[in-house]
Amino acid sequence: MPESAVGTEKDREITFAQAVREALAEEMRRDSTVCIMGEDVAEAGTPFKVLSGLLEEFGKDRVIDTPISEAGFTGLAVGAAMTGMRPVVDIMFGDFITLTMDQMVNQAAKVHYMSGGKWKVPMVMRTTLGATRRSAAQHSQSLHAWFCHVPGLKVILPSTPYDAKGLLKAAIRDDNPVVFFEDKMMYKMKGNVPAGDYTVPLGLADIKRTGEDISLIATSSMVQVALGAATMLEEIGISAEVVDPRTMWPLDEKTLIESAKKTSRAIILDEGYERYGVTAELASVIATGAFYDLDAPVKRMGAMHVPIPFSPPLEDVTVPTEQTVFEAARKMCGK
């Protein structure tokens, strides 16, 4: 659907990919220091076609195709950010963040502190996560927990087109290095997105569905899985609340704890590896904050502790699905 045809409607629906593109385009029009760097971002508009059309509007100076060298162009972005630009780096698959770790962890996250606040690194790294695309072990991982572990970085996991646009704009305007994870399986998902300028503040969770019996705390595309499971649960008389923290750091602990207190039960859903992952941190927040209001141990559901298999039937069982979440919630509620 051409964007111009619906651009003025209030309740228009666009895809997740269009929402990301719109956020970038609006910020690039608003602020001439915003630029994009990455592999295949310009001519190709990324393999997911998220950035199609940006080269035409903003030119090769601001939409820059780079060599296949994640460490190199991430370092370039850190330096550009320190000297006045607001670069948005595109790491095609989240699996490739391994190559950027020194730049992100030891440079971007540290510079502000080690310079006594004299330097800032207002850059955004956009990258992807998510399995079930049949992309095999090196292109299917959800490694956002790696960045969550490092102080000095902010980490965002949008779950809807609306949140994607508002959070990405907030990320670009933030003076800190921010990592923005998009689930590649959500790019074609549609949702309501206002045409004009708006931001979603970092550190504010969103209750995507209210419920009474169990809290499903979910991130990124797992929010959609949780909403599907909640619909199934409703049919057997279990009222599930779906809470989306939206940003892993800063983290809105209060909303998570309040929800768990209200329902007395919580399941944490995240597509990263379950062990030592985001689910562990969020479960700890709830177990600590809501202990005397819990009726059951907090349950975590993440990716299985195996390299994601290429075989489709095997790949599908490594991550939470509506069915497995439904079963887990039903068991926890004793129905």
Binding site: S264, F291, Y292, D293, L294, D295, A296, K331, M332, G334
Partner: protein, 413 residues
């Protein structure tokens, strides 16, 4: 034994929340005691180790008597008996109830103890071998609710997926307990402290105070209007919603200024006027009635009264009223209008002189200039202590109160 109220002589130790030898931090809940008004959690006054526990759960202990020591790790508590500071009667501080009762009453009140420790503690106490609490898992929320509602965990069957005792089981048990008829033998032994206090206090008041009752029907048009105008003011949009009770507290307190007799207390030899006008508001809680107090209500602004009433209601609902909240009342208002009750008579709270029972505001046909008119009416019934107040004085108070209610702005500005 700490004194929580001015005239308190003894306190009943309900349970220790820590065991002897446990290390404790200043400010942690240490024990629960019951006064004649409330059950109260007492916080540890210092860091250290709990030692030399002298009073066990169930003991009635004179105020000021040492019940335990907080010592440094490794330090021994003094062995010398420290006498109570006053020469008041020495009660059963050192005697212990039989151990199964002790463990049963104290076990639900250990929210900080992990299930494993809890089970171990039970097995030491020689209580019946197959008590469900020994084996069943209890959710943290259920354990907390059981402590708050006075439910004995050993009596509650668990409905969780693995037989766990869940919050819903405790709530059901608490409801069943309060619904049980008073003649059932079990409920007489397991009445919660609040319910028992209510039974004792009302019996004492009803049998010792010579009650008499005056009733007046009063038009509530102006009262409704006073509430409506204040509610619709823009500055009140975010504040507490004003209730009829709030208005009545303010009006009654101001009218009481002219009627010190109604704001007196009975001292045994005669009536003594109270220097302050503190209005108690009767509130239903889980298993009884409490009457937390709005102090100096005659001087408090309406918004302050509403705020205080809101806070007290919230705390009453969550079982967090403090003895101080319920102390010092000089006159009480009991409003059952929200239940649709037209009129009723209330029992005076000793040592107050009177209590006002408020019925529902409802449209009634009244005669006006010889014609039938429909007006919102309410019925107020004043219960008075005839030792302090006679019929004429009470009637004068009711007349002034009625005048104030039909023209409230004079009193509320």
């Amino acid at each position: 034994m700490p004194a929580l109220e001015m005239a308190q002589e003894t306190g009943k130790l309900i349970s220790w929340l820590k065991k002897e030898g446990d290390s404790i931090t200043k400010g942690e809940p240490l024990l629960e005691i019951e006064t004649d008004k409330a059950v109260m959690e007492i916080e540890a006054p210092a860091d250290g180790v709990l030692a030399g526990v002298k009073a066990q759960a169930g003991a009635e202990v004179p105020v000021g008597q040492t019940i335990a020591w907080i010592v440094r790790p490794g330090e021994q508590p003094p062995t010398d008996e420290v006498a109570a500071t006053s020469g008041r009667k020495n009660t059963i501080a050192s005697s212990q109830p039989t151990s199964p009762t002790t463990s049963q009453t104290s076990s639900p009140t250990l929210p900080q103890t992990k299930p494993d420790n809890f089970a171990a503690g039970q097995s030491n106490s020689n209580s019946s071998a197959a008590s469900p609490a020994q084996t069943a898992k209890i959710s943290p929320k259920a354990r907390r609710l059981a402590a708050e509602r006075g439910v004995n965990l050993a009596d509650v069957p668990g409905s969780g997926p693995g037989g766990e005792v869940l919050a819903s089981d405790i709530l059901a048990a608490a409801e069943a307990k309060s619904a049980k008829p008073a003649s059932a033998p079990q409920s007489t032994t397991s009445a919660s402290p609040v319910a028992r206090l209510m039974a004792e206090r009302t019996t004492e008041s009803w049998t010792t105070i010579p009650h008499f009752f005056l009733t007046r029907e009063i038009e509530a048009t102006a009262l409704n209007a006073a509430r409506q105008t204040r509610r619709s003011q823009p500055e009140s949009a975010n504040s507490i919603k004003l209730t009829h009770t709030d208005l009545l507290v303010a009006i009654v307190a101001r009218v009481l200024r002219k009627h010190p007799r109604l704001n007196s207390r009975w001292s045994g030899e005669g009536a003594r006027p109270n220097s302050e006008i503190n209005i108690g508001i009767a509130m239903a809680v889980e298993d009884g009635i409490v009457a937390p107090v709005i102090a100096k209500a005659d001087k408090a602004k309406l918004s302050e009264i509403a705020q205080q009433r809101h806070d007290l209601t919230e705390r009453a609902r969550s079982g967090k009223l403090r003895p101080a909240d319920m102390t010092g009342g000089t006159f009480t208002i009991s409003n059952l209008g929200m239940f649709g009750v037209n009129a009723f008579t209330a029992i005076i709270i000793h040592p107050q002189a009177a209590i006002l029972a408020v019925g529902a505001i409802a449209d009634r046909v009244v005669a006006e200039n010889g014609r039938p008119e429909v007006r919102p009416m309410m019925t107020l019934t004043l219960s008075s202590d005839h030792r302090i107040v006679d019929g004429a004085r009470a009637a004068e108070f009711m007349r002034d109160l009625a005048e104030a209610i039909v023209d409230p702005e004079k009193y509320l500005s």
